[in-house]
């Protein structure tokens, strides 16, 4: 009798308890810390579902970067002290909400227990795609992302750019073109500086490795890019680097590089290989890695810009 089923049940309980904690916690900071822990625990659940690629993304983006985003937002909001403590809803309303939430969860749970058998699957098509246009890629997820469903992946990069544009547009007119506000305290904080100096070089190396190895093993441009983004944010938090001005040419080029290269190669596929987003089979792997390298750059630039927020007038000091 193996120990794994018990570990599964323990992990499931842990995830649910931490989730309850993030909802029930009294203050925002506690709840965000709970959410980061929850993201990491969820990554283990993904590993148990044979999804190491999703686990890496969940840990890096779902837990890590979202946690930084919410903590930074909480600090900025707390500094203004104008979130009025509102009256908690009454007991009857809370009970009603509880019943509604339980109904939704129960219905979803019932559906999960009654899923069709045999399950529908796109795996054979994806396998064919991985053998064809995505030839030479050992990691089926990367083959799906870059070949079988490449249009989705390109549009998703567009969404990232649109979100950056949206965040920037929220700033005031006067601040347009300036730099976003610094991440944290005005004075450099020695342990943070030390951490950034020790962690950033190693983290950048691991990020590039995860991107490179993503062709054949779990990893890829998303996960590597998120790690590079995290390293940039760590150096900005230590005030070793400042957020760049948003009208910098280099920043804007880095942001659009990924989708632009993807789109150009996709259009070239129409001429060379006969259809939109088709790659010539002999060159598929180098082309995919070439696109992914630019996507890595765009993700690494977009995520910190999303966390840094709109340009601020005070940034210049």
């Amino acid at each position: 009798m193996s120990l794994l089923p018990y570990l599964d049940i323990g992990l499931a309980l842990l995830v649910v308890v931490v989730a309850v904690w993030t909802i029930a916690a009294r203050d925002l900071f506690t709840s965000v810390v709970g959410y980061v822990a929850y993201g990491l625990l969820l990554a283990f659940v993904w590993i148990r579902l044979y999804a190491p690629d999703v686990a890496l993304t969940e840990a890096a983006v779902g837990g890590g970067v979202t946690g930084v985003l919410l903590i930074t937002a909480g600090k900025r909001l707390g500094a203004r002290k104008n979130v009025a403590p509102e009256a908690q809803p009454g007991l009857a309303f809370r009970l009603l909400t509880g019943v509604l939430a339980a109904l939704v969860a129960g219905a979803l749970g019932a559906v999960i227990l009654m899923l069709p058998d045999p399950p529908p699957s796109l795996a054979p098509e994806a396998a064919a795609a991985a053998d064809g246009a995505g030839a030479g890629l050992g990691n089926p997820i990367t083959a799906v992302l870059m070949s079988y469903r490449s249009f989705d992946t390109m549009l998703e990069k567009m969404v990232l750019i649109l979100a950056v544009v949206g965040v920037w547009s929220v700033g005031t007119d006067k601040a347009w073109g300036g730099a976003p506000a610094p991440f944290r305290r005005p004075k450099p904080y020695a342990p943070m500086v030390f951490l950034a100096q020790m962690l950033a070089p190693v983290g950048v190396l691991i990020g590039i490795h995860i991107f490179w190895t993503g062709a054949n093993a779990p990893g890829g441009a998303f996960q590597g890019g998120a790690l590079l983004a995290a390293m940039w944010m760590v150096t900005m938090m230590a005030r070793l680097a400042e957020p760049p001005r948003i009208d910098t040419q280099r920043l804007r080029l880095a942001l659009v590089a990924g989708p632009a290269v993807f789109l150009i190669i996709g259009l070239a596929g129409k001429v060379v290989a006969g259809s939109f987003f088709a790659y010539p089979p002999a060159l598929a792997k180098p082309i995919i890695l070439f696109i992914e390298a630019f996507m890595l750059l765009s993700i690494a630039a977009a995520l910190p810009m999303l966390v840094a927020g709109p340009p601020s007038e005070r940034a210049d000091q």
Partner: protein, 112 residues
């Protein structure tokens, strides 16, 4: 109970919990966090569909998994946009609230 059914039930629970927090928490950032919790529950339900769809020599169906990866990144982008809007709201108004009646009430809860 297989690990994937267990994970699916966890996903269902997370959706319920997130919905509860989303409706009840007055603080906009807490609402956002609850919404993210709900989202990850949906991803988990999607993940077990991927696990069950194992075929053609894979231990999973790679298509839903790739879509979940895309989904996680898009969910983050949407959260960042929401945070920017919440912060701007707090800059512009004396109090941050999603209560539509707040503008007609006297400023009793104003900190400044």
């Amino acid at each position: 109970m297989t690990p994937s059914v267990l994970a699916g039930l966890v996903g269902a629970t997370l959706v319920g919990l997130g919905l509860y927090g989303l409706i009840l928490h007055p603080h906009p950032l807490r609402k956002l966090l609850a919404f993210n919790l709900m989202g990850s529950g949906v991803f988990l339900v999607f993940g077990i569909v991927a696990r069950r769809g194992a075929a053609a020599g894979f231990r999973f169906d790679p298509v839903p998994q790739a879509m979940v990866i895309t989904g996680i990144v898009v969910a983050f982008a949407a959260s960042a946009l929401a945070v920017a809007l919440i912060l701007r709201l707090s800059e512009e108004s004396s109090r941050v609230t999603l209560d539509p009646e707040a503008w007609t009430k006297p400023d009793s809860g104003d900190a400044k």
